[in-house]
């Protein structure tokens, strides 16, 4: 059935493509294949990057660039106008700095716990265990769940009269209104984020572990090296490149955390779990007036961080490939 649609479609496209081939000749014909993709990328990937610079230097709440007054670097000044960067209360745009610090803490904790548990899980899965495929799937499947579903699953468990509080009541510890308390809400945000994404990194680390040749370990056993020693002297050094890839990837994704936390806590209580992407979303799209300039300026700052991280990633990848 699928082919029944595909084949006629491809035949229809063939007519203009054949004409183009005659017109352009073989040398230029590659561009005919590239064109649709380049147009899409141009419109939705490159053009936005350039336009972002213009937005960041204009004010007002008009979407059209022509209607936006030029304000120079004022948006950046607003964002960075701070008594002390360590204390968001002294900042003019205190919500921005709260989001920055929340994101920093969140990424540190989330990446730390996640990579730690992913490594532990990968090492255990790499042992001589039964039903490895099943256990790998167990840890991996939350990766595929949509962020909103992840948020709702845990919200249902953590609600005031939810199953976790019922369990705590039963043990006599007494329930807590988890998502109303700022620190608990933050801790649970880290937790559900680790829960949802850990499987992905476990998979990469497991692949890295399985790429370590067996004979190295056999040689270590011959030399009567203890298991701990072969772990610290063989496994960890040989896994280091994979670890680096995992760390950078996790950082890149962590900085962009939005979906599941927004659906989980809505950024609250207060601003306890408001992260930087949510700040951009709220300034630019959710509130009125829509402060596109401020949102674009904040985006540029995030982009700068991400570009540095991605360059590190590409460099790490290249080094790994070259051996």
């Amino acid at each position: 059935m699928f082919l029944a649609i595909l084949n006629p479609l491809m035949r229809i496209i063939e007519i203009p493509m054949l004409a183009l081939q005659r017109l352009l000749g073989m040398r230029l014909f590659a561009w005919a294949f590239l064109a649709p993709n380049l147009i899409l990328f141009g419109l939705f990937a490159f053009l936005p990057v350039i336009l972002n610079l213009f937005y960041a230097t204009t004010g007002g709440d008009n979407v059209l660039l022509a209607d936006r007054p030029d304000v120079g670097l004022r948006n950046f000044v607003t964002l960075t106008d701070c008594g002390s960067y360590l204390d968001p209360n002294t900042c003019r745009e205190d919500k921005f700095w709260r989001a920055v610090w929340n994101t920093t803490w969140f990424v540190t904790l989330q990446v730390g716990f996640m990579v730690g548990f992913a490594l532990l899980t990968a090492i255990i899965l790499n042992r001589d265990i039964r039903a490895r495929g099943f256990f790998r799937a167990v840890f991996f499947f939350p990766v595929l769940l949509s962020p909103v579903v992840v948020a709702l699953i845990w919200k249902w468990i953590l609600q005031r009269e939810g199953v976790l509080n019922a369990f705590l009541d039963w043990t006599g510890m007494g329930g807590i209104n988890w998502l109303v308390d700022a620190q608990w809400a933050f801790a649970w945000s880290v937790f559900i984020s680790v829960w949802a994404h850990m499987g992905f990194y476990t998979l990469i680390l497991l692949a890295g572990l399985q790429a370590i040749p067996r004979d190295v370990y056999e040689a270590a056993i011959m030399d009567r090296a203890s298991p701990w020693r072969s772990f610290t002297r063989i496994t960890l050094p040989l896994l280091a490149p994979t670890m680096l890839v995992v760390l950078v990837l996790a950082l890149i994704k962590g900085v962009q955390t939005f979906d599941e936390i927004y659906a989980f806590t809505g950024g609250g209580p207060g601003t306890a779990t408001t992260f930087i992407i949510q700040y951009i979303y709220e300034e630019g799209f959710a509130g009125a007036p829509r402060l596109f300039g401020l949102a674009a300026a904040a985006s540029l700052m995030v982009a700068a961080v991400l570009v540095v991280l991605t360059l590190i990633q590409l460099w790490v990848n290249r080094r790994n490939v070259d051996g």
């Binding site: 590659a30 294949f33 595929l144």
Partner: protein
């Protein structure tokens, strides 16, 4: 029994009676067991809860299985009456139906003798319950027109976006892997650089472009930008590089057009890579949240993810519908996962996520 124990604790490959499980093996299995509980538990709880009635969901502490109070239609009353088993007082041991409740007193009626009203205290009875799946949570969703609408929106966006992305990306990958032309390296570098700018940091200008193209509040506003993902170009190009050029040359000898070479030779030969990319793209688009949240502001255009999010934000959350809807949202992905687990794992590992 001891045989079963020996079987379970036997280590692989050393079956002939030698080594038993080391303590580290026990620790590993304990960790994995805990992992099963922590990873599956919440989802199982969600599914069980989605089969509970609203009254059952309000119960605290909650029960594991979905229960429902039994009711009975009794002569002389229009509505079915809830049944209670008496635990004390005058009527101990009898099963009575409640007519109405007044404070701590209740008016009951004996199903065998519907004429006579009995007065009891509410502390000397317990409801008669049985396990029953409240499938009406699901059927109600389908009766409501809006749910099918959201489902259709999600499906349409996912399928269209994936189809466009596959076609456009495979064309570009073909050009980048099978042609030598000036500017090829530049194009490759440009594609790599798009990896550095995720959608999350260009939201404002992207919003302008989509609005200018008249795609604000339209499903196409989600479909088209979603198709501009660089991952596919890489994945497919790496795969197409392994297809020998001689096949192409042979086809050119037979006067096949370049387009015919592309869709008759290259596409079928890259089918495994295209399949992996298709699975990934379907997952990304189905689970998309931030960009649809910005582009689709009218509720008739909502995707399932947006609908779920807006329902849970309402003041009085209707958990019974919400939970059923959550289950239906994760069901398609769960099915895909069960059948294609291996491909998803390799696909994600080779593309580095997104």
């Amino acid at each position: 029994m001891s045989g079963a124990f020996a079987f379970l604790t036997r280590t692989r490959g050393r079956a002939n009676g030698g080594t038993r499980l080391h303590w580290t093996d026990w620790a590993s299995y304990a960790y994995l067991g805990l992992g099963i509980c922590l990873m599956f538990g919440p989802v199982v709880w969600l599914v069980l809860s989605s089969f509970k009635t609203e009254a059952d969901l309000q119960r605290y502490p909650p029960t594991f299985l979905p229960y429902q109070q039994q009711t009975m239609l009794i002569e002389g009353y229009d509505e079915p009456l809830p049944l209670f088993r008496m635990t004390g007082g005058e009527y101990e041991g009898m099963i009575l139906a409640q007519v109405r409740r007044v404070g701590i007193q209740a008016q009951m009626v004996d199903p065998a003798n519907p004429g006579e009203r009995l007065r009891t205290g509410i502390d000397e009875r317990e409801p008669v319950q049985r396990v029953r799946l409240a499938t009406e949570n699901y059927t109600e969703l389908f009766e409501r027109f809006t749910f099918l609408r959201y489902f259709w929106n999600s499906t349409f966006i996912t399928l269209m976006s994936t189809a466009i992305m596959l076609l456009v990306n495979s064309m570009a990958a073909f050009a980048l892997s099978k042609y030598r032309f000036r500017g090829r390296t530049t194009v490759l570098l440009l594609v790599i650089s798009t990896l550095m700018i995720p959608q999350t940091v260009v939201l404002v200008p992207l919003f302008l472009i989509v609005t200018e193209l008249g795609m604000f509040n339209s499903l196409w506003g989600v479909i088209i930008p979603g198709a501009a993902t660089p991952t596919g170009v890489f994945l497919l190009r790496q795969y197409m590089l392994t297809i020998p050029d001689e096949i192409l040359d042979a086809a050119r000898m037979d006067k096949a057009s370049e387009w015919k070479i592309f869709w008759r030779i290259i596409l079928p030969l890259s089918a495994p890579a295209i399949a992996v990319l298709a699975i990934l793209a379907i997952m990304w688009r189905w689970n998309d949240f931030l960009w649809p949240l910005i582009v689709l502001t009218q509720s008739e255009n909502f995707t399932l993810q947006l609908a779920l999010n807006s329902f849970q934000g309402e003041l009085l959350t209707d958990w019974s519908s919400l939970l059923a809807m959550t289950v239906l949202t994760l069901l398609p992905i769960a099915c895909v996962f069960m059948f294609l687990q291996k491909y998803i794992a390799t696909g994600i590992a080779s593309t580095g996520g997104k």
